[in-house]
């Protein structure tokens, strides 16, 4: 029987259909069927402080919702200019609607002037690639194993006690290599509900003055992204001097499965000591949280810790074909891609060395458990 699939803007009446669609498209994602959580995510996306509307579209097959795509606006500072670019979000279509899924993405690129996305390399990035974005770079990946004995996918359970003993050695080494800095920088945890004050605006402006391309991480953005109501709550570490001036911050999260994520780490450009201090305190927190691994994905810049510091703190750098953990798949490669309407912005943002970018800056991290 011939189908009539209509691609149209999302309406409120489509909520039940999209809630039912998600677990059908992503049966392996345990949160896919959590209706309350997804409703809260969209309420949160609606509070995005950027002055541009979110868009959503659905594929409607005779009243059944068989596909969905949203476009989330985020602000960037590119070559000194403010650029609002959209990221495709919550992209899903049932099997059998492949052409229409591509048509959804085409609608995204028709409706939005500029695009920035950080995707896992794979099917979605190939579909997006049809509409002309340029790949900037793959995010660097640094992984530090804290306690292999608590790794859920250890190839042999017999190795677990041995691995846990080995982790005591790692912890002893960390006690030495991540001692609190003796300098003037103090790192402490602050409350994400109240911390993001004008000092974060000044910090952002100061960083943006030397880094050509970065997400516009003002206090308002940070309050929205990481403050109350964020889909996956984080902890904020700040680096301040004796006078209380802000020199950097980090956003960290330990998931229910004991994965530690450094979602964002920004040190004052050129102040490697700040990056080191934030990194050290993050590792201490992850030990305290009993995380078994720390994952940090980023584009290197003057605001990020140096590769040498990461290596000194025991981070390893998985390649495209191998993981750091035994028996694990290779770490998923995340790629930053752009398509900006303004040619000068496009040229500036095409150079990976121009960017400061962290996993938490991108839409993909909104959904990380």
């Amino acid at each position: 029987m011939p189908r009539t699939v209509v691609l149209r803007p999302y309406e409120d009446r489509d909520l039940p259909g999209t809630l039912e669609l998600r677990p059908r498209v992503y049966p392996g994602w345990k949160d896919a069927g959590d209706a309350a959580w997804h409703i809260a995510v969209y309420e949160w996306l609606g509070r995005n402080p950027v002055e541009a509307p979110m868009h959503r579209w659905v594929l409607d097959d005779g009243g059944a919702i068989v596909g969905h795509l949203a476009a989330v606006p985020l602000a960037y500072r590119i070559g000194g200019a403010r650029v609002i670019a959209y990221t495709p979000t919550d992209y899903m279509a049932l099997p059998g609607y492949g052409f229409h899924a591509v048509a959804l993405m085409r609608t995204f690129f028709q409706a939005t002037e500029s695009y920035v996305a950080c995707n896992v390399a794979g099917e979605v990035s190939k579909i997006e690639g049809l509409f002309g974005p340029r790949r900037v770079a793959g995010l660097h990946q640094a992984v530090k194993v804290l306690d292999l004995g608590r790794y859920p996918r250890l190839p042999s359970p017999l190795l677990r006690p041995l691995a846990s003993v080995a982790s005591l050695g790692v912890r002893a080494m960390d006690a030495i290599r991540i001692r609190p800095p003796s300098g003037a920088i103090e790192v402490r945890e602050e409350d994400t509900a109240t911390a993001f004050d004008p000092a974060f605006d000044r910090f952002f402006e100061s960083a943006a003055a030397t880094i050509p391309c970065m997400p516009e991480k003002t206090a308002a953005f940070l309050r929205w992204r990481y403050g109350p109501g964020t889909p996956r709550p984080v902890r904020l570490l700040t680096a301040r001097d004796a006078g209380g001036s802000l020199h950097g911050y980090a956003m960290i999260r330990t998931t229910a499965s004991a994965d530690g994520f450094i979602l964002d780490l920004m040190g004052e450009p050129g102040r490697r000591d700040v990056g080191r201090a934030l990194l050290a305190e993050a590792i201490r927190r992850f030990w305290r949280d009993r995380a078994f691994v720390v994952r940090y994905r980023f584009l290197p810049s003057t605001a990020s810790p140096s590769t040498a510091d990461l290596a000194r703190f025991g981070f390893r750098f998985p390649g495209a074909t191998r993981g750091v953990l035994p028996g694990a798949r290779p770490e998923r490669q995340l790629e930053l891609s752009i398509k900006l309407a303004d040619p000068a912005s496009q040229a500036a943002a095409a150079a990976p060395e121009h960017w400061s970018y962290n996993l938490g800056d991108g839409e993909a991290s909104f959904w990380v458990p």
Binding site: P2, Y97, G98, F99, A101, A103, R106, E123, I127, L130
Partner: protein, 84 residues
Amino acid sequence: MAIEELEDVAGTIRGWLREHVTGDREVANDEELISSGLLTSLQTVELVLFLDQRFGIDITDDEFVEENFNTVDAVARLVASKRG
């Protein structure tokens, strides 16, 4: 474009579908590709890229509609119209 040439284009597309989609099953020129759900999203992308490389045509946004992709005949007509 002559009918023979149109059939050549259709044959090339059928060959690509056999190799990449149906696993050696022959596809008729009027078989529905989209409304039957035959093509996945990735295969759709790969078909567009194949048409670009094989025939040197650039399919515009306006042309990326179901009518132009629902059968081998429709795709061949699109290619023919682009090649003039």
